[in-house]
């Protein structure tokens, strides 16, 4: 391969370009959850799929994307108050913790983003995104409160019913879709507030994959 042929690197799996700005666990759940590990993906240096992928010229772009996700999540959770009250160094620590795989460093700051006033029983809105391979839309994101008007906790099934009803629709008693977070299928009775606190990705979003169950 000649040096002049080397363009920006990108990854592909079974014809699908992989978005670098999605968490890798999500990409795996979404596209390859039925394959055997290790996951084989193809690395390309040519023919960058401009319409599918964002460019990634340097790792500061990744950092900026990560921080903007965190800020968006906090806007939903606390009207952005927590993240705005943090200092620049705290923001840096979140990123450095993630980048260097230092969980303690990361969690020392992220913990504050996961707090909420006890009297409210949860966040303002749950930061979540639902991904469906079958849909044209990249993902669904809506405002969804963790607690019902009566003060009862909303569960995962409540969320899906409101946002993505087909995912829990049952045709003839058969389950047609798997609802996967972090490679597992949490019970639909799980309160979303708990999921948001404990199964959010580092960007503070709950990334939920809805995967069709293959009929064969």
């Amino acid at each position: 391969m000649k040096p002049e042929d080397i363009g920006e690197m990108w990854f592909e799996y079974e014809g699908t370009p992989l978005k670098w700005h999605y968490p890798i666990g999500l990409l795996f759940d979404l596209h390859a959850s039925h394959t055997a590990l290790p996951w084989s993906i193809t690395v390309h240096f040519k023919d960058f799929p401009e319409k599918d992928l964002l460019h990634c010229p340097s790792n500061s772009v990744i950092e900026a994307h990560f921080m903007s996700s965190i800020k968006e999540a906090d806007a939903l959770k606390h009207k952005g108050q927590v993240i705005n009250e943090m200092q620049k160094k705290d923001h840096k620590q979140l990123w450095m913790g993630l980048q260097n795989d230092k969980f303690d460093q990361f969690w020392a700051i992220n913990r504050k983003l996961m707090e909420y006033p006890a009297e409210e029983g949860g966040f303002r809105y749950i930061p979540f995104r639902i991904y469906q391979t079958v849909s044209e839309r990249p993902f669904i994101q809506k405002l969804f409160r963790p607690i019902t008007a009566e003060g009862q906790p909303h569960t995962l099934i409540d969320l899906l019913k409101e946002v993505s009803p087909f995912a829990v629709s049952q045709g003839g008693g058969e389950k047609k879709y798997q609802v996967v977070i972090h490679g597992i299928e949490p019970m639909l009775e799980t309160p979303v507030q708990w999921l948001s606190e404990h199964l959010s990705y580092p960007d503070n979003f709950l990334h939920i994959s809805v995967i069709p169950i293959s009929t064969d």
Binding site: L37, P38, F103, W107, R111, M114, E115, P117, A118, E119, Q152, I157, H182, G183, I184, E185, P186, M187, L188, E189, T190, P191, W194, E197, H198, L199
Partner: protein, 1172 residues
């Protein structure tokens, strides 16, 4: 298990404890009594039982609570009979106290209560001024009263001697009834009590303030509680402006009470001299509409609850203003609150009667952050389940879902009627448990109106949890229980939700049920997952529970087994949430980890580097004068060697006269890395053998603490790797501590003790082990103990790392804390106008200074020793300064600097007093606490590692009070042993050492030495003490015993060798002076002698606290010849007592062999050849 206890009472009056190290509510060992109130400190817990009597529960400890009774026998000489007990009519009694004023015959002494026993009979004290006499203990004088001498003179007309008898408190680990009062005003039954005041003063030891409220609203104070009188002596009434209902006493000078009308009372004037205080001040209730019902105080916080269950925090409390300034409303509704040690707070929540812990309470944020429910499981399987809290909540197993009926829910009845209802359904339970708490109006009121709400809540809350997957489970479970029920109906409705085997339902017992809770609890039955039930609590006391905001606690999830895969998550489970979905998530996650991670662990790292460099900017303490910090570039270059072993070089690039220069050091030459943290700079020192000789290390400063620790970790790993060291220290390791409390360990090679050419000790490689210790002692085989600055005993866990070492380079590390005092001095000079004042002469020292007077140290500018330390107390006067003080803590002298004494004389023109402030460090290391006794010294018998692992190893200690203790049950497998055996002495001790052949030597606080006779493996405690006089005019400080040698160090830094030791006469004959400027000595199992020496001159500088090795020690010459100097200064302690590796035997080399390798490996080989 180490850890302190949180005490609670459930609504049935049963007392439970929760250990800070545990996660299960344990039923109090002595569970016969039911209690209304408990109030705890670390050593003991007081309570009011349902019989309205006061009980005290003193925790057992290996050191007995003993009290020495004494009386004097007086005699007068007459020409006929000589000395006899016929005294003159004007004389004192024949038996009297020391002053002669009180008549005290032997039979006038009685045990104070049934909880005491005599240790032995009366005996004569034959020790006079620390020296044993053989004169029957008599001391002589011309007449009463006079000065007594031990020698009889021609004019000695009277004599006296002291008789001693010890009594011992025996009722420990049990509720001991406090004897009721015989004299004085008799209190009516008590309704509340609170213990505290342990921080007010250290004299007498273990002093406590106990405040109580009687049913008539009077306040009482218990006099005379201290360590050797745990029951106290009498109740004294303290008058109050109104009727009091509840009282709370903090660890120091805060005492608050709640009055019947809802106002609060604050006690003022509590001090060291007057722990009862002098007057009350009224503080209004936080809320204008409703009065306060409960108050709890700590060191500098006050929390209160008003009648509407709102929680309030008092602002502005400090030692000058015990009343504070205003109330702040807090989140949460509580029944009551308890403030414990470190101002931590617990409460009982209003809606579900769960115990909540206030998280995030620190000295900067005393009000904390959030309430967190403690979800520990209860360990009361042995209990009859009749009074089970679940039963009271109305959830019985049943085959079908039915609407709860009014009768089972007990809507309007109090809990006592509830209990009756329970009795009705509970025909077979022989002993009916009547909840005695309900006799207390305060609680019963709460129980009755809260419980019904709770029942409803639980049932209502349960229904939405039902989901499709649950139905299968629950119907299955219901089917099972129905089957169970069918076959056991004859046995009545007794059941337990702990064990499915016992789950029985009377078919007619109840018709209330909640389907989902059946399913949930059915899961709980299988594997103890989640909380097994939802206990209802009535009272909590954290006064004996030592936690702080940084301490990891296991109280909040009882899912320990599964939580490991998710340990990073903070699981805020409330009991209602222990649902199936949670368990499924844990199971799926651990399965996923297995599938996606564990199966690929054997994969090698994809990226491998052969050379890499880490660079950084640092400051370097430059070598040339004037010495100062200069900016340098620092780099570590690491590369893989030919055989795969790593090596590296350190570079320091600096500018010298505008010229670029560099300094370098090979990683394999580095002998030690020493962190030197101060409040201004984050520095560390790098030593090589050459630098050790110079006493001038490479000193570097990083810009941030984190950066310094990153570098230290990296450098340590590189050095360890290049030395081929990994994992835990070996059984022969040499342990040492520095004056900063850092712990260093070195692996000895056999030639370290070779003679005549041992390994020079500046070539020894030391690595740091996490933790903070004052001293560390090792012995055989692999048993290591340490003592912290706060005298806490620690045993080595067998791990390594901790401290600044992160995850991978650590193993078996645990949290460790240590506390030490920081001292500053307040100096004053006398002048004729104002007397003593803080106006000194212009030439004087600072009016607030360090001990030398050279450094200004004010209360505000004095910082904790390093950023690792935090303040945990306020400044307070230290009344225990060496030399003694007057009542205000002052020490007087003629001028600065001079010797100070504790009383004022006419010649004194200056005075000073010492202020102390406690600071605390929280770190980690391979150490486990050995509670509860605090230690002064410890010794472990050196022995060869060839013993079997089960064989017992002798370990002796000196407690903080000077008691001599022998640790039982210490083996290689259980290095912490099992218990202390107390060995009686007539005076306090300070140092102890046990030799390889069971020679036990000790030093008493008066500076004389003792030898313990007949210590053997069969009688580990020996039989009696032999007094060994100290060297003339010297007071001994420390002793160390090896295989045959005995060495001691005195207060003036002299090292002494004990002459004339033989197996038949193990006490020896005399002390021989070996060296001066010695601080500590450690003699090992090869009779090798190592010391910590002061004033060691290097080529660049002088060092204090240097490790030195005695050269030329041979079986025929145990005193050796000269010293070899190793690492230092700043070293405080060394222990070589585990190194029993003999050097390879060699013959004396010939002159031609002088060029032999000094490292000592070569002589072994050469020696064989030459020696032929």
């Amino acid at each position: 298990m180490p850890g302190s206890l949180l005490w609670v009472i459930d609504i049935y009056g049963r007392v439970y404890t929760l250990s800070t190290a545990g996660q299960i509510w344990e039923l109090c060992r002595d569970g016969r009594l039911e209690f209304k109130r408990v109030t705890a400190t670390e050593p003991c817990c007081w309570g009011i039982a349902s019989d309205h009597q006061v009980y005290v529960y003193v925790h057992s400890s290996e050191v007995p609570i003993r009290y020495q009774e004494e009386t004097f026998e007086n005699q007068r000489w007459n020409p006929v009979d000589g000395f006899c007990d016929r005294l003159l009519p004007s004389d004192r009694w024949q038996w009297s106290d020391i002053t002669g004023l009180v008549h005290q015959p032997l039979d006038s002494f009685h045990l104070p209560s049934e909880h005491w026993e005599w240790e032995a009979d009366w005996y004569v004290d034959e020790n006079i001024d620390g020296d044993p006499t053989e004169k029957g203990g008599w001391t002589y004088a011309i007449d009463f009263p006079a000065t007594y001498t031990k020698d009889k003179k021609w004019n000695s007309c009277v004599r006296r001697r002291r008789w001693i008898r010890y009594r011992r408190y025996k009722s420990r680990d049990t509720w001991a009834k406090v004897p009721s009062q015989n004299a004085g005003p008799l209190p009516d039954p008590f309704s509340d009590l609170s213990v505290g005041g342990w921080d007010i003063t250290e004299e007498p030891m273990g002093r406590l303030s106990l405040w109580a409220v009687s049913l008539q609203g009077k306040v009482w104070y218990r006099e005379g509680i201290c360590h050797h009188n745990p029951e106290g002596s009498s109740w004294e009434e303290v008058s109050t402006p109104g009727e009091v209902v509840q009282i709370s006493c903090g660890p120091s000078d805060l005492v608050w009470a709640v009055m019947w009308e809802g106002q609060l009372l604050v006690r003022e004037g509590i001090s060291r001299e007057n722990p009862k205080g002098s007057s009350w001040v009224v503080v209004e209730s936080p809320s204008s509409e409703v009065g306060a019902v409960h108050v709890s105080v700590g060191v500098s916080v006050v929390w209160a609850v008003t009648k509407d269950r709102k929680v309030w925090f008092r602002r502005g409390i400090n030692s000058h203003n015990p009343c504070g300034t205003g109330w702040i409303g807090m989140v949460g509704e509580m029944v009551m609150l308890s403030v414990g040690v470190n101002d931590q707070v617990w409460g009982i929540s209003c809606d579900d009667r769960a115990i909540c812990f206030r998280q995030g309470v620190t000295s900067n944020e005393l009000s904390g952050k959030t309430w967190r429910v403690i979800t520990a499981a209860r360990d009361d399987r042995s209990q009859a389940s009749s009074a089970n809290s679940l039963a009271s909540a109305g959830c019985f197993f049943s085959g079908e879902v039915q609407v709860p009926t009014e009768t089972s829910i007990m809507s309007d009845t109090g809990s006592s009627s509830e209990a009756e209802a329970q009795q009705d359904t509970d025909g077979e339970t022989a002993k009916i448990r009547i909840p005695k708490v309900t006799s207390d109006s305060f609680i019963s009121d709460l129980v009755s109106d809260k419980e019904t709400k709770l029942n409803r809540r639980m049932l209502e809350g349960a229904i939405p949890e039902e989901g499709p997957p649950l139905e299968q489970e629950s119907s299955k479970a219901a089917g099972e229980t129905a089957t169970n029920a069918a076959c056991r109906t004859s046995r009545g409705p007794q059941w337990s939700n702990v064990d499915l085997e016992e789950a029985q339902v009377g078919s007619d017992a109840t018709d209330s049920s909640s389907l989902s809770s059946v399913a949930t609890y059915n899961f709980g039955l299988e594997d103890q997952y989640g909380v097994d039930e939802h206990p209802l609590w009535a009272w909590v006391c954290g006064g004996g529970c030592v936690v702080d905001a940084h301490m990891p606690l296991n109280w909040f999830n009882s899912t320990s087994a599964l939580a490991t895969s998710l340990q990073s998550m903070s699981l805020s489970i409330t009991p209602a949430q222990t649902a199936v979905w949670r368990k499924q998530i844990f199971e799926q996650l651990s399965e996923r980890t297995k599938r996606e991670v564990d199966s690929f662990r054997h994969y090698e790292q994809a990226v491998e580097q052969s050379v890499w460099v880490k660079k950084g900017n640092m400051q370097w303490w430059r070598d040339w004068k004037p010495n100062k910090w200069i900016d340098v570039q620092f780099a570590l270059e690491q590369f893989s060697g030919a055989e795969g072993n790593r090596d590296g070089i350190l570079f320091i690039y600096y500018m010298f006269n505008d010229e670029k220069k560099y300094l370098h050091a090979f990683i394999n030459e580095v002998t030690i890395l020493v962190p030197v943290v101060s409040d201004t700079k984050h520095t560390f020192a790098i030593y090589t053998p050459e630098r050790t000789k110079q006493r001038w290390p490479i000193r570097l400063a990083a810009t941030t603490e984190q950066e310094m620790y990153d570098w230290l970790t990296l450098l340590s790993l590189s050095c360890n790797e290049s030395q081929g060291i990994q994992g835990a220290p070996s059984k022969h390791a040499i342990w040492s501590t520095t004056c900063k409390g850092d712990i260093f360990v070195s692996e000895p090679i056999p030639s370290l003790e070779a003679s005549p050419y041992p390994l020079p000790c500046d070539q020894m490689y030391w690595r740091q082990i996490g933790g903070h210790l004052h001293l560390v002692e090792c012995g055989g085989p692999g048993i290591v103990w340490g003592i912290g600055y706060n005298h806490t005993a620690w045993v080595y866990s067998g791990g390594y790392g901790g401290g600044f070492f992160q995850g991978l380079s650590s193993s078996n590390v645990h949290p460790q804390t240590d506390v030490k005092n920081v001292y500053i001095y307040e100096n004053q000079r006398w002048n004729p106008v104002t007397g003593y004042s803080s106006r000194g002469l212009p030439t004087d020292r600072f009016m607030w200074s360090d001990i030398s007077g050279l450094q200004e140290c004010t209360k505000t500018n004095t910082k904790p020793p390093s950023p690792l330390w935090i303040w945990v107390s306020d400044w307070s006067i230290d009344y225990n300064s060496p030399g003694g003080t007057d009542r205000e803590g002052w020490q007087y002298a003629t001028d600065f600097p001079a010797t100070y004494h504790g009383h004022k004389t006419i010649k004194d023109f200056v005075r000073r007093r010492r202020w102390a402030r406690k600071s605390k460090i929280s770190t980690t290391g391979p150490w486990l606490e050995v509670p509860p006794i605090t230690l002064w010294d410890i010794t472990i018998q050196p022995c060869s590692s060839s013993r079997s692992p089960e064989e017992h190893v002798s370990v002796w200690g000196i407690s903080n009070k000077g008691d001599v203790l022998c640790r039982l049950g210490v083996t290689q497998q259980t290095p912490e042993g099992t218990s202390w055996l107390h060995v009686g002495t007539d005076q306090p001790f300070k140092s102890i050492s046990l030799g390889s052949c069971n020679q036990l030597w000790a030093v008493a606080r008066d500076g004389s030495a003792f030898y313990r006779g007949s210590v053997s493996p069969h009688s580990p405690a020996g039989d009696c003490w032999y007094h060994i006089p100290s060297p003339a005019r010297q007071k001994l400080l420390q002793v160390s015993v090896g295989r045959t040698s005995v060495y001691a160090v005195d207060e003036n830094g002299n090292l002494w060798y004990r002459h004339g030791l033989t197996p038949s006469y193990p006490q020896g004959s005399s002390w021989e002076h070996i060296s001066n400027n010695v601080r500590k000595v450690s003699v090992g199992p090869l009779d090798q002698v190592w010391i910590i020496a002061d004033k060691v001159q290097g080529s660049h500088s002088l060092s204090c606290g240097t490790v030195c090795h005695r050269l030329g020690v041979q079986p025929m010459d145990p005193k050796g010849q000269s010293w070899d100097y190793g690492i230092g200064g700043g070293w405080d302690h060394i222990s070589v007592r585990a190194n029993s590796q003999e050097a390879p035997r060699i013959s004396l080399p010939l002159a031609s062999d002088k060029s032999m390798n000094p490292r000592g490996e070569a002589p072994a080989i050469n020696g064989r050849v030459v020696g032929c």
